[in-house]
Symmetry: C2
Subunit: 451 residues, 2 copies
């Protein structure tokens, strides 16, 4: 028969078993951590009606959308988890209690140009807090704590949560009389990291039509840096000139104020006036998270406050705050950088049992006992040589191999080999369970990412 | 602004938060149980190239497939998890160790006619064991143990795993000289439950062209029932007339023999000679699992042994055995039947903290302490009346509410109300953690399904 050469589409991540185990650990850590803050898991369809999904219309992403017809239905694959959330909240409004906190970890689809590290199918891991009409600034203050706990639980150490407030930016440009040009200005300022302050200043004059004084004023403003207290104190110097600015500054001060109570160490947090995060959607606090040793990756967890989640579906005012982790890309980058902990177990089983007798009853009963105690056990009963079975355990990094022969069965003991140390024990089944569980607990001690 | 009425496509399950929590519990139980048997989690793309996905071609499902073009690529959404597994194993053959055990819980897509309880997007939860060239019958013997442990862990009690062996059927029809008509015969026999033995006998004569004697012989054969020993002993009466039959009988006897060692109680298992599970794919043991009190649902976990997983992609012989749970449909049916345990927590948080002071430091520190101890805590800091906040906890079934006022802060205690009993404690923070954890453990004791 003619064979079809199997392949996986370019831009679609398909992991081998060991890295998949690492990915599962990351997802489990996200689920557990998000849940600690009262976020409930949601799952929405991958396919939505195009007119619903694209109600907002236009935009950069529309060309990238996987859109097709089935029968007479015009369908699209979701390209983020925010639009489905807006639909969900508008649709199920009467069945939800607000503030509504949800997390969702799911695949989204964007037909981007295929290139290394860019994915067309990728996981996003989102949390959002949605209010009904109003939403306290304290939710914005809590977000850095969630990012901090999440990244710490994953094992990351050298990261920084950068925070700004759109009201401060909007208010600042308003007090300079530059509200109408603020979009262009922010796009130019965004190049600061790449081209430096001098060139940004020149562009502000040449492209945005500012005076040299205005450009200098902006450069001076965005250069404000230092400790949280230093930055806040410098910003206080601008207070009283614009109401929106003042409000933003008060919000930022609130976010900073509760950091310590939330357990966020100061070195993991910085007010950064250069962060804007797009132009339309966000209206208050905005967040970016960078890995200090890998600034080239850009932000790995971003988001912010918005005033109107579902304006395309409902007249209700539904303000919210949320953050998103681009999980597939993050996982890819961590792998590339060698930051995935190779010491955590990735084996499909904790124990491989090699029955050495024709009658398998004793081996099967032992496997059942191990499983009853939460130990992942596989019986190797294929017709293979002993050496091949050991090599199987080796290749899969299965930590323990148990040999069960006539002698052991007669003596009521189990011969168990620790594959890492070579140490072999001969203990009763219950003691073997204890021995293995202690060893596994030790092996599980690290975090999945080497921070 | 004109609003788009939000809606979710018909045939797509979108759960409210409480049932979603139940669904998450079921998935977590499946993941944990499958892992105990050495299955490793896999995740493959939802989208595949059509020529790869449809290499097998034709078939009932092809009309139902979501197929579309993007750029010049002809793409399809996966309609099961078996074809992607075949592709995966053929593609990554050199990186895998055999026997290869994987589980996958993922969404698949079939554009079926929309009707109540039929889904176009639905989860399948599959396990498969793939051998390289050969695969021991013992894997087939282990499958009932996996089904039993999985269903028991979910809380089901009244279910039965029904097992047959295709070689017994094929061998039986061969010894009757009816091999060429076996397809028609099995399709007719499949109606036994619906129309009864008499009518099946008549159809065998009228439609399949059998003699009355042949029809009687078949009816006598498939009527063999009783305890496993009774059935096996009756089948022994046919031994020696056909090699394939004899092999199938030996395999079936092996499957039955190790049941007790695997911990499967006899009442959860039955040899059932009427089970065939399709005509081409399966070659050995076949499985169906029925809920005894809901036979109308049909099989909720089915599968079997096959000899050639990836014949469309590779010349390698890759035999396997697998089972699949149609999770979305099962969840739907369980909900309809009132079989989802309403007593297990579905709240987004374990504790709702109501700060009663302007300064939130103490409340936030307490929430941080609770979270450090694995307790899901939400702070309610919105500007709402006390009564509204209590009602929020009530509606979401949050089990504990903590009040933290000046007095409690000064005294170093926490006022904590058990919302179910109304009992209120005033304890130090550490004692409150202990109190809540004990209460939560009690609440978590049941299983997710009422069996």
């Amino acid at each position: 028969m003619a064979k079809m050469t199997p392949r996986t589409l370019s831009g679609f991540m398909e992991l081998l078993p060991a890295p998949q185990q690492q990915m599962e650990r990351i997802m489990e850590t996200l689920r557990r951590t998000y849940a600690l803050y009262g976020f409930t898991p949601l799952d929405t369809p991958v396919i939505e009606s195009s007119e619903v999904l694209l109600a907002k219309g236009g935009g950069e992403t529309e060309k990238q959308i996987y859109r097709f017809t089935k029968g007479d239905a015009d369908l699209s694959l979701r390209f983020d988890l925010t639009v489905p959330l807006a639909k969900y909240v508008a649709l199920h409004y009467n069945d939800l209690s607000f503030p509504f906190r949800r997390y969702q970890i799911g695949k989204v689809y964007r037909g981007e140009r295929a290139q290394r590290g860019r994915f067309r199918e990728f996981y996003q891991a989102d949390i959002d807090i949605i209010g009904d009409g109003k939403l306290s600034i304290l939710n914005e203050a809590e977000i850095p704590a969630i990012i901090y706990r999440t990244f710490s639980a994953l094992g990351l150490r050298r990261f920084q949560i950068r925070v700004n407030n759109r009201k401060i930016l909007n208010g600042f440009y308003a007090m300079m009389g530059l509200t109408e040009r603020s979009g262009d200005i922010m796009r130019t300022v965004d190049k600061l990291d790449k081209i430096g302050a001098e060139k940004v200043g020149a562009l502000l004059v040449a492209d945005c039509g500012l005076t040299h004084d205005q450009a200098d004023e902006i450069l001076k403003f965005i250069a404000i840096s230092g400790s949280n207290e230093t930055v806040l104190s410098a910003l206080e110097g601008y207070r009283g000139r614009n109401e929106v600015f003042d409000q933003g500054l008060t919000e930022l001060a609130t976010v900073v104020r509760y950091l310590a109570d939330f357990g966020v160490p100061a070195e993991h947090f910085a007010v950064d006036l250069t962060i804007a995060r797009g132009l339309d959607y966000y209206t208050g606090t905005v967040y970016e998270t960078t890995l200090l040793d890998h600034p080239e990756i850009g932000s790995v967890c971003s988001g912010g406050r918005y005033d109107n989640l579902a304006e395309y579906y409902t007249d209700r005012q539904l303000p919210g705050v949320g953050i998103s982790i681009g999980l597939t890309r993050l996982f890819y980058v961590l792998g590339e950088q060698g930051m995935l902990n190779p010491d955590l177990p990735t084996a499909p089983a904790d124990v491989l049992i090699l029955p050495m007798t024709e009658d398998l009853s004793a081996a099967i009963s032992l496997a059942t006992l191990l499983r009853d105690n939460g130990i992942r056990a596989q019986l190797h009963w294929e017709e293979k040589k002993f050496k091949q079975k050991i090599s199987y355990a080796d290749k899969l990094s299965i930590p323990y191999v148990i040999f069960l022969g006539e002698d052991e069965i007669a003596a009521g003991v189990v011969a168990c080999k620790d594959m890492a140390t070579g140490e072999q024990t001969k203990l009763e089944p219950a003691a073997t369970v204890y021995h293995i569980k202690a060893g596994l607990a030790e092996r599980e001690k690290g975090a999945v990412i080497l921070g």
